[in-house]
């Protein structure tokens, strides 16, 4: 997907890095950025513009600077008052919906390895049961812990029916680099909302993280077409795991193959495959 754009982009990026002048984030939207690049936020462009090289006008009252609250998302880091790119990918921006200032900048990158993030819904496999908690493998550097009370309607007497080897759909409540990740299967109101043990049968397979985000986009055509084939159920985990289930084993396998392959197919190839499936 990135191959044609890469050649010219690398040239431009290398030039800007060599010239060591930060580009404005606004001008780089939807273009490929490389780690190590610094980006300027819109409010700082005036100060840096004609003077170049880091001269900034002295201000009497520093607090009078317009404070636009910008959120730096995945792939970006704060460096002084600029954004430092830490992953390679395309820079994206989202305008703030209800005017809570600034909007979000992030880098749309691709990777296979999942790093637990708070609030993500993931599919985990129960690997151990020790006392009051389950150890769940989510594909990160260490297994997450899941308390037996973190299910809907679970009390000390009424334990949930979870065995080693079960699939769990839950979300992280604690996920940072210093602590062991913890997940739960209820939301803040105490309702399950579809989380918990995923039923028997079906097939679990792994894809890249970028594909999951692409499939979960609101306007994803792949999912709409897949849904027209035959009755099926899919669960997407943000850790790159997908669980599918259909009426027969063959249908399940077809579904798994389609989802794995659609990352590298063009739209036409995909449409061909779907039309062939619809015929048979």
């Amino acid at each position: 997907m990135l191959a044609p754009a890469m050649a010219e982009v690398v040239a431009v990026a290398a030039e800007s890095l060599a010239g060591s002048r930060a580009r404005a984030a606004r001008t780089v939207l939807n273009q490929v950025v490389l780690p190590g690049e610094e980006l300027l936020l819109p409010e700082q462009e005036d100060a840096e513009g004609p003077g170049g090289g880091g001269e900034r006008p002295l201000r009497l009252n520093a607090g009078a600077r317009s404070r636009v609250r910008v959120v730096c998302g995945p792939g970006l880091r704060r460096c002084g008052d600029r954004l430092l790119v830490t992953k390679c990918g395309r820079l994206r921006h989202k305008e703030p919906g209800s005017g809570s200032g600034g909007g979000v900048y992030w880098v749309d990158s691709q990777q296979k390895r999942y790093v637990p993030v708070k609030g993500d819904h993931v599919i985990g496999i129960v690997t151990a049961k020790s006392g009051d908690i389950f150890k769940v493998d989510v594909g990160g550097s260490e297994p997450a812990s899941l308390s037996y009370l973190a299910f809907e309607g679970a009390t000390k007497r009424n334990r949930p029916n979870v065995q080693v080897g079960d699939l769990i759909y839950g979300q992280f409540v604690v996920a940072n680099k210093d602590m062991e990740p913890e997940m739960v299967c209820i939301d803040s109101c105490g309702r399950a909302n579809g989380m918990g043990v995923i039923g028997h049968d079906g097939l679990l397979f792994k894809v890249t993280l970028g594909l999951i985000r692409k499939l979960l986009a609101p306007d994803c055509e792949i999912i709409q077409e897949v849904g027209k084939l035959y009755p099926l159920e899919i669960v997407f985990g943000m850790n790159g795991r997908i669980w599918v289930k259909a009426k027969t084993i063959q249908q399940t396998l077809i579904l798994a193959n389609i989802l794995e392959a659609c990352e590298h197919m063009t739209t036409d190839q995909r449409k061909q495959i779907f039309s062939r499936l619809a015929e048979s």
Binding site: L41, R78, K94, W106, Y169, G194, I223, F236, A246
Partner: protein, 153 residues
């Protein structure tokens, strides 16, 4: 003289809970404002642009709910899909008429048998016999009580 000159109570005393109950909202707001000013001036802050860092992709991209079901494979999941995806777009308007724990049909079925069992409780011994005769499921109400009929001219 004593009534005219109010004893001055200290600030700390005024901040205690039992003194706050008698105050009206305005004086409360004033006191709160003063406290915030004191705290605000002592608060150290970094004079950096407000750049909060969030690692989650959830607030970057509007993603759909992770569980999906198509063509009626799992009806509960399909209901959940509507609920959760509607939450992202707009606030879910809770239609109270739809949210019932027991469906209407089930309710009607239960009541049918319920009328019989409760009626049995208040029936006299004579009438209870007629209840027990119909034990195969149909509950027939006992015949009407025979009262004295006034003779018609």
């Amino acid at each position: 003289y004593a009534a005219q000159q109010k004893t001055k109570l200290s600030k700390n005393l005024m901040r205690m809970k039992f003194m706050q109950r008698g105050l009206d909202s305005e004086t409360k707001k004033q006191l709160e404002g003063e406290e915030k000013k004191i705290i605000g001036e002592e608060h150290w802050y970094l004079d950096l642009p407000a750049l909060t860092k969030r690692q989650s992709f959830l607030l970057c991209e509007d993603l759909l709910y992770g569980r999906m079901s198509f063509r009626g494979f799992n009806p509960e999941v399909e209901k959940l899909m509507l609920q959760m995806n509607a939450k992202n777009k707009a606030e879910v308007f809770e239609d109270k008429t739809e949210e019932v724990d027991v469906s209407d049909e089930e309710m009607a079925r239960r009541y049918e048998t319920l009328v019989g069992t409760i009626g049995k409780k208040f029936a006299k011994k004579r009438d209870r016999v007629s209840y027990e005769e119909h034990e195969n499921g149909d509950v027939k109400l006992p015949k009407e009580k025979e009262m004295f009929l006034k003779p018609r001219d």
